[in-house]
Symmetry: C2
Subunit: 330 residues, 2 copies
Amino acid sequence: MSPLTHDDLVVVDGLQINNWDRKVLEELRAGGVTGVNATCAVWEGPAETTRAIADWYQLARDNDDVVVLAETAEQIRAAKAAGKVAVLLGFQNTSPFGDDYRLVEVFHRLGVRVAQLTYNIQNLVGGACYDANDSGLSAFGGFIVAEMNRVGMLIDLSHVGNRTSRDAIDASAGPVAITHSNPTWFFDHPRNKPDEVIRALADRGGVIGCCLYPNVLGGELTTRAQFCSMIARLVDEIGPDHVAIGSDCTRNWSQDFVAWLRNGRWRPAAANPVEPEWPAWPQWFNGPCDFPAVTEGLLSAGLDEATVRKVLGENWLRLFSQVFATKEAR
Amino acid sequence: MSPLTHDDLVVVDGLQINNWDRKVLEELRAGGVTGVNATCAVWEGPAETTRAIADWYQLARDNDDVVVLAETAEQIRAAKAAGKVAVLLGFQNTSPFGDDYRLVEVFHRLGVRVAQLTYNIQNLVGGACYDANDSGLSAFGGFIVAEMNRVGMLIDLSHVGNRTSRDAIDASAGPVAITHSNPTWFFDHPRNKPDEVIRALADRGGVIGCCLYPNVLGGELTTRAQFCSMIARLVDEIGPDHVAIGSDCTRNWSQDFVAWLRNGRWRPAAANPVEPEWPAWPQWFNGPCDFPAVTEGLLSAGLDEATVRKVLGENWLRLFSQVFATKEAR
């Protein structure tokens, strides 16, 4: 065993979409998770999202011994020192911007630091992972990307279509992220990413967060060794600076929420060909408190300590520092 | 004539509701107006207001040689030194907070520093100046007042009913404002304020901005001497620290907008018993560029230079400093 423990590791999770409360925050702290991109919008429009952010302000205020809302990499490091979980507010869709690119600045000002361009299906910005035909980045999407670059908001391509992903990587002035997906060579799934997207992302300095969500992991029976070997191979392929973790943890939700994720308001629940259900998670990773098992697994897979530090947090922090620091931002 | 000129006066206008563009901003600058509470919502809900603020961010960015968005009294003084107009974003209604007191913090974070509790008719917060029965401050209104106190947002009572105004003055932990109204003893009108409201406001350290809007001024024929004598008498009655100006300038709007102000969405335009029209302004005050005439009039009315400085700007700046500075605010 290595001397590497969560006491001196800065662990950052590229995405969690829990139903946040004190108990969930304590689970993150128990797992030694210092920072997390917390989804606060998937289908919501501008007004609903503004309320979701108000919810976060209140939750953070009511639990300020456990959590702090962060807007910079430095604030995440400071949270580690203070023994708190640092939450970056993030979107899994550009629906909060409505049809108005200027709302990017508004939500940036409210603390949002990450936004995924599309969620599952085509929107005003571009095409998504489940579209039969990915439109690529739209003209409006070009303005969204430019404005996210300007204010310093990280572009996320996890649920985005491959064509739109390539367009966005090309259009973006800075590096972008895939916060929670795996390579298709590991598990072939529309939510996972082909080589060309992952390599283009890495070439521009971006980071991919390998994902523990069972549906994109290959199911609950996928072993920790398999997951960690995938990360080791990805590090070999694109280098140690571009690989991270994005667990996609979904703690504390009832059944309703998975139906909302699947169907939003864009189709009647009955039109969903699959009964929405939460998948079973692997025994070795049941939630944020099992992060130490991932650390152990990465070391067992032969990654050196420096690389483990990068994969578990330092790569996200570097990317955040680079993207969030912009002279144009308010 | 006094040596007092607009070169060394910090002039702050308690409220303008212009259709803002570069030309209007240049009119303010020509009139030596350093700071202004600019209305960006009257009937709008949360989402529409968020867009109105995005409009302001863009207008300010596109005209940053003339204007700066300010959130503190210090920034208004700095704008004076830089030869720019400092705009405080303000609401004439609490409709932007919807039914959620937590949106106060959200809009504060976006830069809003003033909100009037009600606009003309009753809302969730309380009663307004044209209500047959003023409900007083509601229970929800109590939370709004407390939250505005907490984050440091100035409470405005100009269009608020008298009972609700008294309740709000009592409920507020800090001083409040009437940004644009006159005493009823000067002109008896539902939008103007009886003695007991003005005295209660002043007793708690608040400020009333005397208003040039013709409908509450007594019409276009009211003279400059009459207006300035009113201010002199008010200074005698409540002291020099509680009287200011709130012009209610309405530059650059078409006819449509006055109908929107009058009718919002709460009644069909045809149900308005009065044809909505912009009133004629007095010859001596046609807009923000005529502010020097007010200065001259106040000196002619016998106010000393120190009092003129207070009335024209320093009283607003003191109130802003006091209300906006709160340890609780983000």
